[in-house]
């Protein structure tokens, strides 16, 4: 265990800080190789770090200034484990950053503030923070269980809707009932394939396959999936038609592609019945559970990334 923890706090407008562990009590600890870095530049951690450090400032064995930060050096002993204290604060901060948005985490920040405010001694603060950390571990299990259950329900919904939309798929997009998957080793090979087929935006699509594991394109009027996944992993790829619409002017479907329980992307595919032209447009993942018409309106620039209308009272005239 390191002997000292150095806590460097920037000015309040700066909100940066550096926390390192070292066997040196002076500024030598900041030199390369002389420390173990715990955390750097986390704006969310800043308020708690500043309050705790100022609270226990009298326990600092040394103080110095470096790179516009004021450093307090605390000794890490069994009786006053400042290293453990700051590790706990970092863990709780990271937990709040990861899970704070879930309903189960309501009140956790207030609980942390209360612990820091009320604990007069370092040992009390560490005990209370440990109890909070144990509570957070239990909450994490509950939250992850809930997320997994919701994810299963969502995939079940996609399967159900896909079956309901089979008639439209078979009529207008028969190849999507069993999509052709072309696997390539590199995105350079994909780019070469696309350029040979005279596909527009070939370099962009090749790069998108590299970023997103698989991308659907229109090749000579037919939809096909391109992927860089190795053959043993392609089985985890699934394409679902979650929502479809069939009007007198066009037929559209919202596609959701999943690989090993992770959603890759959401897209609108369609055919213009007047011109018999097919199209595919990718939409933000915020439209994962939206209907196909809302997705189409995003493509037309009529709704924002969250499906809210951009204009009041729109008259849409299309051919």
């Amino acid at each position: 265990m390191a002997r000292y923890v150095h806590v460097g706090i920037g000015a309040s407008g700066d909100a940066t800080h550096v926390i390192v562990l070292s066997d040196y009590a002076n500024s030598k600890a900041l030199r390369k190789g002389m420390n173990t870095l715990l955390r750097k530049y986390s704006a969310t951690l800043y308020p708690w770090i500043e309050v705790v450090t100022r609270k226990f400032a009298t326990f600092a064995v040394h103080r110095y200034r470096s790179w516009f930060r004021d450093y307090h050096v605390f000794e890490c002993t069994e009786a006053q484990d400042f290293c453990g204290l700051y590790r706990l604060l970092i863990f709780i901060n990271d937990w709040i950053a990861e899970y704070g948005r879930y309903s189960e985490a309501k009140g956790i920040q207030e609980e942390l503030n209360e612990i820091i405010r009320k604990s007069e001694w370092i040992s009390d603060m560490i005990d209370n923070l440990w109890n909070l950390a144990k509570k957070l571990w239990e909450l994490e299990i509950i939250i992850n269980q809930r997320i997994a259950a919701a994810r299963q329900r969502m995939f079940k919904r996609f399967e159900t809707h896909h079956k309901e939309n089979t008639a439209i798929l078979e009529k207008y997009f028969p190849e999507l009932t069993a999509p052709v998957i072309r696997a390539f080793g590199t995105h350079f090979a994909i780019r070469e394939y696309l350029e040979n087929k005279n596909i527009q935006h070939a370099p962009e699509y090749a790069w998108l396959v590299h970023q997103n594991k698989a991308i659907m394109i229109l090749n000579n009027g037919k939809f096909e999936l391109l992927t860089e996944l190795p053959p043993e992993k392609i089985g985890g790829l699934s394409v679902y038609a979650d929502s479809c619409e069939d009007t007198d002017k066009f037929a559209t479907c919202k596609l959701v592609t999943i690989h090993n329980n992770a959603v890759l992307w959401v897209a609108v595919v369609g055919v213009d019945k007047l011109t018999n032209q097919r199209f595919i447009h990718y939409v933000p993942s915020t439209f994962l559970l939206r209907d196909v018409e809302t997705c189409r309106r995003w493509v037309l620039g009529l709704v924002n990334d969250h499906g809210k209308p951009i204009y009041d009272n729109v008259e849409l005239i299309e051919t």
């Binding site: 962009e204 447009h281 990718y282 037309l300 620039g301 009529l302 009272n313 008259e315 051919t319």
Partner: protein, 93 residues
Amino acid sequence: MVKVYRQGDVILVSADDVNIYDGWMEDDMLIIRSETGNAHVLEMPVYRYAGALYVDVKRQSVMKHPEHPPLRIEPGKYRVLTVRDYFLNNITD
């Protein structure tokens, strides 16, 4: 009431409150090529204002494209846009 016209991938959104004449006239005709190589054509002056493209439709006109039915456009100023694609519009290195 906001009028939005769409012909293929080309979208015109009414913009009568925009003073496009503070920009400059870029062309006397709107021509936008589609992926097939054919062009959407609207024979009305085109302006560039604040980085955006506008067309000034002075009288009822028709936007033509060989593969799409003609689209009748009412008089007014319109911002010229194309359909969006989340991936292609946001691609980064």
